[in-house]
């Protein structure tokens, strides 16, 4: 008995660490492999491009129809005035949080594993923000007056009212997009220089050369570049927290049961990062497979991302519990009705339970390492989580609005074909932009991968270990 205990492995056996970079490809090999997708078109690219281009065309048609006719073509009604436009806005902008989280937060925390995934995550952020911005603009009803949202001296002598949360949104989203774009582009500059120097034709060399700004890679350039990049990361980090907090204030400063809650800012931020990681995985896994990047985006990366999904998923579960508890504990009859009756047993109860199943149960898969490192499990789970997060926004917006204080004003809401077309159209546009990105830009941060490799090799030689 004693001997069997002694020989059996300890309960928490240290499993072998999966490396961040499998093998030690030379800098030239890394460059070649990661830039080849820029010079050749991958298998199936044109097919996906065609599908997403058609979807985008349909988006343009339905947006035009909406603008010409008016938003009466949507399912919105009174009291459900926000509906799909705001559900989709919150959903997309939430997705857009993971990019900055990965690039800025993890940079400041010195997490080296971000190097091979940050570029894709940042691009994803930008594309999600473009889609997000579309919805409030269309929801204005007369989008050609969008500039009324900005404080500019007008002959009407009317100014935006900054005691409302809606102008905060304008500032938050505009700042977030600008800073994310700068951060992404700054990270790209040295890699565009590599693309310039590796380009097979003069024309491409010129195009990449223009965008590379004449980067030479001198030590002085790197020094100031690092400073600026780190500062931008430091600036983008509070933005990750602030943007979705501001979005949540659109809801929580109102009086409506289901919205009027102090947990909203952290609850929204956590949900945003949760759905964003799911979207990063959804894009990363096919890219990894198609371009055979299993040694660069290793199972360690998948493991880390799944752990983040689990952590943010658990925080979301906590938020759900607190929301329900506070609704009951407040003793307020409207709060209790919305949370404890209308949502779980009302007309949208099916969507509520789908949300619980998708958001609460799915991340529990990631308690197991084998599931965390399985690409197919992660891909499926990401799809479910993205759908789940969309239903969460549906529940927050529609169930709170459609049954407020006065039963005589209750009204059922259902979306129209235009609502569905615009939602699916933005998914197409997102896919289209992403396809263009992986076709024309270095989608793995080359210079950071080289630095990572250098650091790993230095570490090994100083410890006297052979390459893992």
């Amino acid at each position: 008995m004693v001997s069997s205990l002694a020989t059996s492995p300890p309960l928490m056996a240290a499993q072998p660490e999966i490396p961040l970079l499998e093998g030690r490809p030379s800098d030239a090999e890394l460059t070649d492999r990661l830039l080849t997708p820029l010079w050749t078109t991958a298998r199936g690219w044109w097919l996906l491009f065609g599908v997403t281009a058609l979807g985008t065309l349909w988006l343009m048609v339905t947006v035009t129809y909406t603008v010409i006719t008016g938003i009466g073509v949507w399912g919105n009604n009174i009291p459900v005035a926000w509906a799909y436009a705001i559900i989709n806005f919150v959903w997309w902008i939430g997705i857009g949080h993971a990019g900055t989280f990965i690039s800025a937060f993890l940079l400041l925390l010195n997490q080296r594993w971000r190097a091979s995934v940050n570029r894709i995550a940042e691009a994803m952020t930008l594309f999600a923000l473009i889609n997000a911005a579309l919805f409030p603009l269309l929801h204005l009803g007369r989008p050609w007056f969008f500039y009324w949202l900005l404080p500019y001296p007008t002959r009407m002598s009317v100014w935006p009212q900054f005691k409302s949360a809606l102008p905060w949104d304008v500032a938050a989203v505009a700042t977030y997009f600008t800073v994310s774009l700068l951060f992404w582009y700054l990270g790209l500059v040295p890699d565009l220089a590599t693309a310039r120097d590796q380009a097979p034709t003069v024309r491409r060399r010129r195009v990449y050369g223009v965008f590379a700004l004449g980067w030479r890679g001198s030590a002085r350039q790197w020094y100031h570049y690092r400073t600026a990049y780190l500062l931008l990361a430091g600036l983008a980090t509070p933005l990750v927290i602030s943007v979705h907090s501001v979005v949540s204030l659109d809801f929580s400063i109102s009086q409506l049961p289901g919205w009027h809650s102090t947990i909203f800012p952290p609850y929204f931020v956590v949900g945003a990062i949760y759905s964003g990681f799911a979207m990063v995985l959804l894009l990363l896994l096919p890219v990894r497979r198609v371009f055979r990047l299993e040694d660069i985006i290793t199972r360690r990366h998948l493991d880390n991302m799944a752990k983040l999904l689990l952590a943010t998923g658990l925080m979301l579960v906590y938020s759900y519990i607190v929301e329900l508890f506070i609704a009951w504990y407040s003793g307020d009859m409207y709060e209790r009705y919305t949370y404890l009756v209308a949502r779980p047993f009302g007309p949208y109860s099916l969507i509520f339970w789908a949300m619980i199943a998708a958001n609460v149960l799915t991340p529990q898969l990631f308690w197991f390492r084998r599931l965390r490192t399985s690409a197919s499990v992660l891909f499926g789970a990401s799809l479910v989580i993205l759908a789940g997060m969309w239903t969460e926004r549906f529940i927050i917006i529609v169930t709170s609005l459609n049954r407020d204080f006065l039963p005589s004003s209750w009204h059922f809401y259902s979306p129209t074909w235009v609502d569905w077309s615009i939602l699916l159209g933005t998914v197409s546009l997102f896919g289209l932009l992403f396809l263009l990105f992986i076709r024309f830009l270095p989608f793995v941060a080359l210079h950071e991968m080289k630095q990572l490799r250098y650091g790993l090799v230095q570490g090994e030689s100083s410890r006297g270990v052979a390459a893992v």
Binding site: S26, D27, A28, T31, P151, V158, W159, Q161, F162, K163, W168, A171, A172, A174, T175, T178, V179, L182, F183, Y185, L186, P190, A193, T194, R196, D197, Q198, G209, L213, G214, W215, R216, G217, S218, A219, R220, Q221, W222, Y223, H224, Y225, T227, A228, L231, L232, L235, A236, P238, L239, S242, V246, L249, L446, H447, E448, K450, Q451, Y454, G455, Q458
Partner: protein, 176 residues
């Protein structure tokens, strides 16, 4: 560095030790080119101060002041409105936009400041004329001695570089 000598090395470690040796010999106007930011090169090159943090801080401050100022002018001075009896000058309500504009100002300044400090965009530079220099962004590491270094001498500095066993030594600019 627009004129001088370039030496090409195969690894980053060779580049770092070359710079240290040249500094020991008294060269001061040195530069390196590498495909990634090589840790440990700042000290031998004595890089240690950047204007960018100051620019970013100032721009952040300007952004915050501007953000608060616009809100104050719009909602307190020019177009005051009574919203549910709340004070017209509502400081807590003005914080989100002030914060966002501070970040916006600082973020723009980090980018524009970098371009100004580095004098980019600069599509052409004498080093680009060096044959094979394109590998500086791929897998080669270069050390340059500027012709403006007080210790610089075309023959002497070339010999000093050759002693560091580089792959090759090449002049930059019209040095010949």
């Amino acid at each position: 560095m627009t004129k001088g000598l370039l030496a090409e090395f195969a690894t980053a470690t060779d580049m770092i030790s070359a710079v240290s040796r040249l500094r020991e010999q008294g060269y001061r106007d040195l530069e390196t080119y590498s495909p990634f930011s090589v840790p440990g090169i700042d000290r031998p090159l004595q890089l240690g101060s950047s204007l960018i943090p100051a620019i970013v801080f100032a721009a952040g401050l300007i952004g915050a002041l501007l953000g608060y100022g616009i809100q104050w002018y719009a909602n307190v001075r020019h177009y005051p409105q009574n919203i549910g009896g709340r004070p017209v000058h509502a400081l807590p309500a003005f914080i989100p936009v002030t914060f966002e504009l501070a970040i916006l100002g600082a973020g723009l300044a980090a980018f524009v400041g970098l371009l100004i400090v580095l004098r980019l965009p600069q599509p052409w530079h004498p080093v680009f004329e060096v044959e094979g220099f394109e590998r500086a962004s791929i897998d080669r590491f270069w050390v340059a001695i500027s012709a403006e270094d007080p210790r610089f001498g075309a023959g002497r500095s070339a010999r000093a570089l050759e002693e560091l066993t580089p792959l090759r030594v090449i002049p930059v600019g019209a040095l010949e």
